[in-house]
């Protein structure tokens, strides 16, 4: 059982890979450290859906989860494990910054590591992206990798 934890957020792209690389280095330096690699599928319980979408939701959810595990999580977990680290991969639906912070809190994580992505769309320009919100609301230190 390791004593310290670092939470890494993936986004399925380059920024997530940079975050993972940084966190891997940190974890090795610490030595006794578990990596919690997290991928969040953006989803809100307060969106509007049609009856047909609702009826198929469970099926779609399973598909989304298995696709994310297969394409994003498994390669990341494999790469980190090969570096000799203790790794835990988590795929979830919800709000990215909320979930990263939740997991960090629950595991008493040292820090959250995320990659910086440019702001996309009007909403993010007005309210800030995931990294911005995380930096503002997080209960543990956040490292943002440019």
């Amino acid at each position: 059982m390791t004593t310290s934890t670092i939470v890494v957020g993936l986004d399925g792209g380059e920024a997530g890979n940079r975050a993972l690389a940084f966190a891997t280095t940190q974890a090795k330096l610490i030595g006794d450290c578990t990596l919690k690699i997290v991928y969040v599928i953006e989803w809100s319980p307060f969106s509007f859906q049609t009856s047909e979408e609702n009826a198929e939701r469970h099926k779609r959810r399973e598909e989304e989860l298995s696709m994310a595990r297969e394409r994003i999580m498994e390669p990341a977990v494999k790469a980190a494990t090969e570096m000799g680290l203790s790794v835990d991969g988590i795929v979830k639906h919800g709000d990215v910054s909320d979930i990263l912070d939740d997991i960090a809190k629950k595991n008493n994580a040292l820090q959250i590591v995320v990659g910086r992505v440019g702001l996309r769309g009007l909403k993010e320009r007005m309210f800030g992206g995931v990294t911005g919100r995380l930096a503002v609301a997080s209960s543990v230190p956040v490292t943002i990798i440019p």
Partner: protein
């Protein structure tokens, strides 16, 4: 997708092209559809709306109205006024306080509720209320609110059962609704005829989907559009609607449905906001309007049929607007992810509240305050139109145009917004009901791509019929079919309500003992 789309469009074009050839012929087509429609549905309408053999206060009382109200009242007492006791709990369920975070990504209570609402909030709240108030006077509003409050218990009953007895298929999709609780629930209680009720219910649901969920919508949307751009044949609106609905439900063009699903809630909020602004500006008349509603509820204020006329109109329109006891909501709510069927029943009781008690009352207040209904200053009673069937209005309009005229007294540009809202509401209601109808259809004929497409094409065809038929014939048929669903559904609910009571007791006991906890701090 494209193949269906083009052949569908081709067929639609082929059938209307000859009609376009001459305007005279086109008007004739309108009239012909209308005649065939009124002629072939009249007997059924008469059966459903047959009056009770005795008269109440000198006016006839359709048995079906009594059926719905008695049902809702029995459920209200049987479940110990669940609609008031569980109201606060319903709100915390919708907020997600009791949702397991591990179920994130599944259908939430909020989503099940809003999906069901998008099927019920619509023309019933705009046009239906105008019809009720136009015939029954402001007093109809009182009975509408009462029916809405009682109806919350009916919704609770049917939606709990809908979730409890839904089918979950190996591929992860779900199908639920009265046809499933009729078969499975009756079997569980060792009762006969569950399968028979399910079949009858499915037939009526298909009728309701084509009537209230389709033709009534198309008809009122056309009335609103032609009120703005000038009169033109109804089938033109019908064909346009049919093509768009066809593109969504057969062509699978999700983007149109998604846009609608996002715009419709905003339209609903805009509608309520506009009504609120008018009420705030005319705040000094609100007391008077409630006085009219109260007085009219028991005297009728001179409307046709007196206070019973007001009562019948109020009850009828409330039932048509919030669909409590009809069974349609049980189909919509059954997709939610929950281990406790009662939770969805509790959430669903918010539906008649939002739909009828809030939105319908807003419309009724605006119509009453705006003064579009003509009063005799000497007696304080309403003046009737020449036929003596409904209240005289300042511009002779009825239905959605009456609401439009009422809102126009506050904002002159409102009819344009209302036209857009009506079109979108009509559209989203059609999409919802095409799903309800489809579920009933596949229950009857079995699942399968071809079978589904047959129904969807029939559905689109009826949009054209609905837009072309005149309002009276369409409303009568819509009402008849929706109420026929309620006859079968409420019958089944009577037999199954002990199951709901057991579930309810067990759930609230565990909630009280702390076994069921909130997931949020």
């Amino acid at each position: 997708m494209n193949k269906f789309l083009t052949t569908g469009l081709g067929a639609a074009a082929a059938s209307v092209l000859p009609a376009i050839a001459s305007a005279q012929e086109a008007a004739g087509l309108d009239q012909r559809i209308n005649d065939i429609f009124a002629g072939s549905t009249g007997w059924f309408v008469n059966l459903i709306f047959a009056p009770l053999p005795f008269e109440v206060a000198g006016s006839s009382f359709p048995w079906i109205v009594l059926w719905l109200v008695v049902g809702a009242t029995i459920f209200t007492f049987y479940f110990g006024f669940i609609q008031f006791k569980a109201f606060g709990h319903a709100i915390s369920l919708v907020k997600g306080d009791y949702s397991d975070p591990d179920d994130a990504g599944e259908v939430s209570h909020f989503q099940a509720l809003t999906t069901a609402l998008s099927g019920t909030v619509g023309l019933g709240n705009i046009a239906g209320v105008a019809v009720a108030v136009g015939i029954g006077g402001p007093g109809a509003t009182f009975w509408m609110i009462l029916a809405g409050l009682l109806g919350m218990a009916s919704k609770f009953t049917e939606c709990t059962l809908g979730v409890k007895y839904r089918n979950e298929y190996p591929d992860g999709t779900v199908s639920g609704g009265p046809m499933y609780y009729m078969t499975k629930g009756f079997k569980e209680r060792g009762l006969p005829l569950g399968g028979f009720l399910a079949i009858v219910f499915s037939i009526f649901t298909i009728g309701g989907a084509l009537g209230g969920g389709n033709m009534f919508q198309a008809n009122q949307a056309h009335a609103q559009i032609s009120g703005i751009v000038g009169d033109f044949p109804g089938w033109i609106t019908g064909v346009v609607f049919a093509v768009v609905v066809f593109a969504v439900i057969v062509g699978g063009i999700k983007s149109i449905a998604q846009v609608t699903e996002k715009v419709v809630p905003f339209m609903g909020i805009l509608y309520v906001a506009a009504a609120l602004v008018i009420l705030i500006v005319e705040y000094d008349k609100i007391g008077w309007a409630f006085g009219q509603i109260w007085e009219g509820a028991f005297t009728g204020l001179g409307v046709a049929g007196g206070f019973v006329g007001a009562l019948i109109q109020g009850f009828k329109r409330a039932a048509f607007s919030n669909e409590a006891g009809v069974g349609s909501a049980a189909i919509a709510h059954s997709a939610v992810r929950t281990k406790e069927p009662v939770t969805e029943g509790v959430v669903s009781l918010l539906e008649p509240f939002i739909d009828t008690v809030v939105i319908c009352t807003m419309t009724a207040l605006v119509i009453t305050i705006s003064g579009v209904l003509v009063m005799d200053p000497a007696t304080g009673n309403f003046m009737l139109n020449e036929a003596g069937t409904s209240i005289k209005t300042i511009d002779g309009s009825s239905g959605v145009q009456l609401t439009s005229a009422a809102f126009a007294t506050g904002f002159s540009w409102f009819p344009y917004v209302l036209a857009v809202a009506v079109v979108l509401f009509a559209f989203s209601t059609m999409i919802s009901w095409s799903y309800y109808g489809l579920k009933a259809w596949t229950y009857l004929v079995g699942e399968g791509k071809t079978k589904e497409i047959v129904f969807k094409v029939i559905f689109c065809f009826f949009i054209i019929v609905g837009a072309a038929a005149n309002l009276g014939a369409v409303i009568d048929f819509s009402d008849a079919m929706i109420f026929a669903m309620a006859v079968v559904n409420i019958t089944a609910l009577y037999f199954l309500m002990p199951i709901v009571k057991r579930e309810m007791k067990s759930y609230f006991d565990r909630l009280k003992s702390g076994e069921l906890k909130k997931f949020v701090d």
